[in-house]
């Protein structure tokens, strides 16, 4: 091995160590006794393993943690399904039809890609108040159900569906909706699965909007619940860490299972265009 290769491996290993160290420290801290987390000297491995933080987490004395994780799961799943449906449909509409206003609407769509949620935040909150949607799941799911990024991403993928095939299906008498379902959707499965992962992840980790809409502990998602626990610094920090670790486990499983597909396709679509 040349000295250059050695240097490459050393640098990458150091970078990975810095990246993974806080995460590994999180994992080991969840099984340390409360006193040991805040004790000198600071050590990576615990003196003795304890499960008391996990027991306390699921005792529901602080926050209904299991319930909040379930809420996150329900909200993220519904949001993902809705975004997939609206994105696939609008993507097909933009890619496969020519109609008046198409270009205008598409430019509007592109322009809104740079707009942050902050621009609509206050009236959206008022809308939730007047609809009586505070502390409801639809108050989180429906406003997230139309993603400008998703629409754009799927439209790009739908462009590759051959027009000849669509025309042939039309001559055979297939309805437009049937063509969309049996040709459009299957041909962009790759893009849809990437959008599904990205949407689920964004929803699973979201904090700003859920913290505004979801008021009661029973309805809150896990990031809101954990953020509320931070006030109990030191005394309950182990419990907070145990919860923090558990909510990352599904993410890691998904990424290890689908790493090739996800990482390879993740950015291709958006950068190519």
């Amino acid at each position: 091995m040349s000295w250059r290769r050695v240097l490459v491996y050393l640098t990458l290993t150091a970078a990975v160590a810095v990246t993974l160290l806080p995460y590994v420290y999180l994992i080991t801290a969840t099984v340390k006794s409360p006193g040991e987390i805040f004790e000198l000297p600071v050590e990576l491995l615990p003196d003795a393993i304890t499960t008391e933080h996990y027991v306390r987490l699921f005792s529901n004395e602080l926050i209904p943690f299991a319930r909040q994780v379930l809420n996150s799961l329900v909200i993220a799943t519904l949001t993902t399904l809705l975004v997939l449906a609206t994105s696939a449909s609008v993507g097909w509409g933009f890619a496969k039809y020519d109609f008046p206003l198409r270009n205008v609407l598409f430019i509007v769509l592109l322009a809104t890609l740079t707009l942050p949620l902050q621009v609509a935040l206050v009236p959206l909150f008022q809308m939730m108040v007047s609809l009586n949607w505070l502390d409801t799941f639809q108050g989180v799911v429906l406003p997230a159900g139309a993603s400008a990024f998703g629409a754009f991403f799927i439209r790009q993928a739908m462009l590759s569906v051959p027009d000849d095939m669509v025309q042939a299906a039309r001559i055979d008498g297939a309805s437009e909706f049937r063509i969309f379902l049996t040709m459009g959707v299957p041909l962009v499965k790759g893009a849809l699965s990437v959008l599904a992962v990205l949407t689920f992840l964004a929803s699973w980790n979201d904090f700003l909007w859920p913290s505004i809409v979801l008021r009661s502990a029973e309805r809150q998602t896990y990031p809101v619940g954990l953020a509320n626990l931070i006030g109990f610094y030191n005394t309950e920090y182990g419990t907070l860490l145990a919860g923090s670790f558990l909510v990352t486990v599904p993410i890691i499983i998904v990424f290890i299972a689908g790493r090739k597909h996800i990482l390879d396709n993740l950015m291709l679509g958006s950068i190519k265009s």
Binding site: V16, V90, E176
Partner: protein, 321 residues
């Protein structure tokens, strides 16, 4: 099932009542509003929950409205006049810009270097490296901040005990000393987002034609020259993309500082970001009109900075590059 839902049956009637459907399809003429059927679900949701509030927000920013049930009073540009003289808004703007500038200037070169290293031919464990670098980005900002409170803790933190102490440096009050709060948030940002941007750069590098590099090598260009005159210019679309998204993300920063130093921004409000100030104004103090004005200020900043940096990188000059 699909048949009953299809547009054909409904739509053809609407366009040409009485015309036999078969004939119509033969000539490949689709019902005129079929496309609208496909784009409607998206635009209805998007219009109700984003378009409408966006317009309403602009209107609200010209009113003074305190509390949810109180009536609004038209005050013209008062909110914006208050905004430009509001020391707290100014503080939040400086803090957020500090974060944006600091993190982008460090993350972009760091991510590019990582991407170049990851492109090394015949690299073992490439998949493991890539996955590890991506991981922090996939974790909730709240969770990252909870972990980093342990990294930055003055007495028992990893940074002070494992890095500064061995170097003989004194312990730093990362989250208590106003001068160190923004640098702490920047460090967290670097940890969380460098890997993601390295993957963006890897994709950009992958799309480069190796032939050009080989030709340059044959012509006697050294590694630095090839990097400076071929790799970098060809990478421009990726760089524009990365910086634009970094600007958009930076000016929306909220969860991490809230969990790290608290909703108020910590001592001397040194960790207060623009979105935290918006949240406090609108949802804690219920000063809704002023909150809407802050929301618009954030948006204008994001749009102007994104366009400015695209222009600075020559994005509008040619479609090629």
């Amino acid at each position: 099932m699909a048949r009953t839902l299809s547009t054909k049956d409904v739509a053809t009637d609407a366009v040409t009542p009485g015309t036999p459907t078969r004939r119509r399809r033969r000539s490949y003429v689709r019902p005129r509003w079929t496309p609208y059927f496909f784009i409607a679900p998206f635009f209805i949701l998007f219009g109700i929950f984003f378009g409408l509030p966006t317009v309403r927000s602009l209107q609200m920013s010209f009113y003074t409205e305190r509390g949810v049930d109180t009536s609004a009073e038209f005050t013209g540009l008062d909110n914006y006049a208050t905004l430009v003289r509001d020391p707290t808004f100014y503080k939040a703007l400086v803090n957020t810009s500090y974060y944006a500038l600091g993190s982008i200037l460090i993350i972009v070169p760091l991510a590019l270097s990582l991407a170049l290293l990851l492109r090394t031919r015949g690299l073992l464990l490439r998949e493991f490296f890539r996955l590890s670098f991506f991981l922090p980005n996939a974790i909730s900002g709240i969770v990252v901040a909870i972990v980093f409170r342990l990294v930055f803790d003055q007495e028992y933190g990893l940074l002070n005990n494992w890095l500064l102490a061995p170097l003989g440096l004194p312990k730093v009050a990362w989250l208590a000393d106003p001068a160190f709060i923004m640098p702490s948030i920047i460090l967290l940002g670097i940890w969380q987002f460098t890997g993601l941007n390295a993957i963006y750069f890897m994709v950009g590098l992958q799309n480069q034609d190796p032939g050009i590099h080989e030709a340059a090598t044959v012509d006697g260009a050294g590694p630095w020259q090839r990097f400076r005159y071929i790799t970098l210019p060809l990478l421009k679309p990726t760089t524009v993309f990365v910086v634009t998204f970094a600007i958009i993300g930076s000016y929306q920063l909220f969860a991490q500082p809230v969990a790290l130093v608290g909703e108020g921004g910590g001592p001397n409000r040194a960790g207060l970001t623009l979105t935290m100030y918006l949240y406090e104004t609108a949802f804690t103090n219920l000063d809704l009109g002023y909150g809407a004005a802050i929301g618009y200020a954030i948006t204008v900043i994001i749009v102007v900075l994104s366009v400015l940096q695209m222009w600075a990188q020559g994005f509008f000059r040619k479609e090629s590059a």
